[in-house]
Amino acid sequence: MFKGAFSIWGRDMLVLKRSIISELVSVVAYPLTLYLAFGFGLKGYITDVNGVPYPLFIAPGLISMTAVNAAFDESSWSMWFHRKVQRTIEEYRVTPVTVYDIVIGKIFSGFSQGAVKGTVVFLVILFLTPFRIDYANLPMYLLCIALSSMTFSCLGTICGTVIDKPENIGRVQSVIIVPLIFMAGIFFPLSSYPASILPLIQLLPTTAVFEGARDALLTGTIPTHYLVNLVLSAAFCFAVAVYTFNRKMAE
């Protein structure tokens, strides 16, 4: 069962391993820049947010952002590339593996990329800055990141499956993914929103990702509604991704 998915995931990890250094340099550069620019640049202006020092306030979000971005990136581009450019999906499809093997292998590849890259950014922030956490809170935080990477990997897979033109994947990223991430309060507390739209913002899956991750890392607990949101989003996106891929392949 799912041996095929495991083989496809293994292929993606082998390829990742080959280019890991250059991948990591580029993936660490962005959140680290944001961390230094906002965390230190603005430190004199924003001392703390709800009692949390500003660099500590944004760090968990930056790590989560790296993980979910990497998961989305890998899943969408990889699916598109293997489907439209290399046509390796066709090669997989003439072997006894099923379409479920293929889509699940690909979703887990995106998830793994998110996990690896998020971990590295976490370690880098830990080494280079005075950012410190209580390690007892780590498992809860990791659960949160894992669920959200799963969601974004599935979203990426859906995009890579239904979108044929590469520029449209870029558009989805800049019009949907980036605003979702920034609106969810990585850099500012949700209490900055007018009370009228706050409930809507709180329903966004990304809010659950970033607020949940921050609460998990700083306090060790996730508010239940965020956890439920994360689990449901991941399960829903997984089902939609598998269904979409299956449909596309049956065309």
Binding site: G4, S7, R11, L14, Q86, R87, E90, E91, T95, P96
Partner: protein, 308 residues
């Protein structure tokens, strides 16, 4: 059950346009079957249906008795596929490409490693097995795709234009491989090269617009379409006079002239005798029967116009 491949009234339409039209076919096990047809005839569509990449709009097809509609996984276990366009993984080395394929077929390293060594040797790629396919020539990539299709020792091999873009040496060496596979597996190939079909195939089918136009061995096809008996006659002298004579003969269906060389198409086999009566033996330098080539058969069936 002696048929490796059975197509039963297969129809495939792309919103309104019918690419394959109620196509039926049975291919005997252990033979090399060649499908010929101009661009857009529907060859690739048929291969995609048989390899479970595409579902037919109507009808069903069976590979070694397994339906492509309901037993796709069993079908895929038994087939090897060389698609029209190479689909190698350019981020994996040649050997890794073969290993991944073996793993997707559920093979274990102890089984696939010796097999891969053997195939790399056979295709002459052993020395370059740790290079990426991007650094290969077109012919080497093609051979790697063929090797990949053979890793799991399929019972039915589908080759969609396997030798397009290969130099004469590579083509011939690939033909030798394919001949070596005959009997141990069934080979279903498409090609645009008549000499290839002639040299390789036990049975040839010519199709166009999604339907079959002719079917048989190369010899049978040539025979069936040599009804128009064409002779080449070269005259020593009086070519102009003979042109007039030929024009007046009722059993001469066509005359094409190039200097003193005439191509004379006769109504039937018996007409050669009266023709000779009208020609003076000492005026003839050379006379010979023009054998139809498979290409003549193909052109006469599918027309001379280029497809858009």
């Amino acid at each position: 059950m002696n048929h490796a491949i059975t197509l039963h009234e297969i129809t495939k339409s792309y919103d309104g346009f019918t690419a394959v039209d109620a196509f039926s076919l049975e291919v005997e096990r252990g033979t090399v079957f060649g499908l010929l047809g101009p661009n857009g005839a529907g060859k690739t569509t048929l291969i995609k249906i048989l390899t479970t990449l595409m579902r037919p709009t109507l009808g069903d097809a069976f590979v070694e008795g397994h339906s492509v509609l309901t037993a796709g996984k069993e079908v895929r276990r038994l087939i090897g596929v060389v698609p029209q366009e190479n689909n190698l993984d350019r981020y994996l080395t040649a050997r890794e490409n073969l290993v991944l394929h073996a793993r997707l077929h559920g093979m274990r390293p102890a089984a696939y490693n010796p097999r891969i060594d053997q195939l790399l040797e056979m295709t002459g790629l052993a020395a370059r097995q740790h290079d990426f396919p991007d650094t290969y020539s077109g012919g080497m990539q093609r051979r790697l795709v063929v090797a990949r299709a053979l890793v799991h020792e399929p019972r039915v091999l589908f080759l969609d234009e396997p030798t397009t873009g290969l130099d004469p040496q590579s083509r011939r060496s690939l033909w030798d491989h394919i001949r070596g596979l005959r009997r141990s597996m069934t080979v279903f190939l498409t090609t645009h090269y008549m000499d290839e079909a002639d040299a390789l195939c036990d049975r040839i089918m010519i199709m166009d617009h999604g339907t079959c136009l002719a079917d048989g061995t190369a010899a049978q096809l040539k025979d069936a379409f040599s009804r128009a008996h064409t002779y080449q006659v070269e005259f020593r002298r009086d070519a102009d006079r003979y042109q007039g004579v030929l024009a007046g003969l009722s059993f001469v269906k066509g005359v094409e002239r190039e200097g003193s060389l005439f191509q004379i198409t006769l109504a039937d086999e018996e007409s050669i005798k009266p023709l000779m009566d009208h020609l003076c033996g000492s005026d003839i330098r050379r006379i010979c029967l023009k054998e139809p080539s498979l290409e003549d058969v193909f052109i006469s069936l599918t027309g001379e116009k280029v497809r858009e």
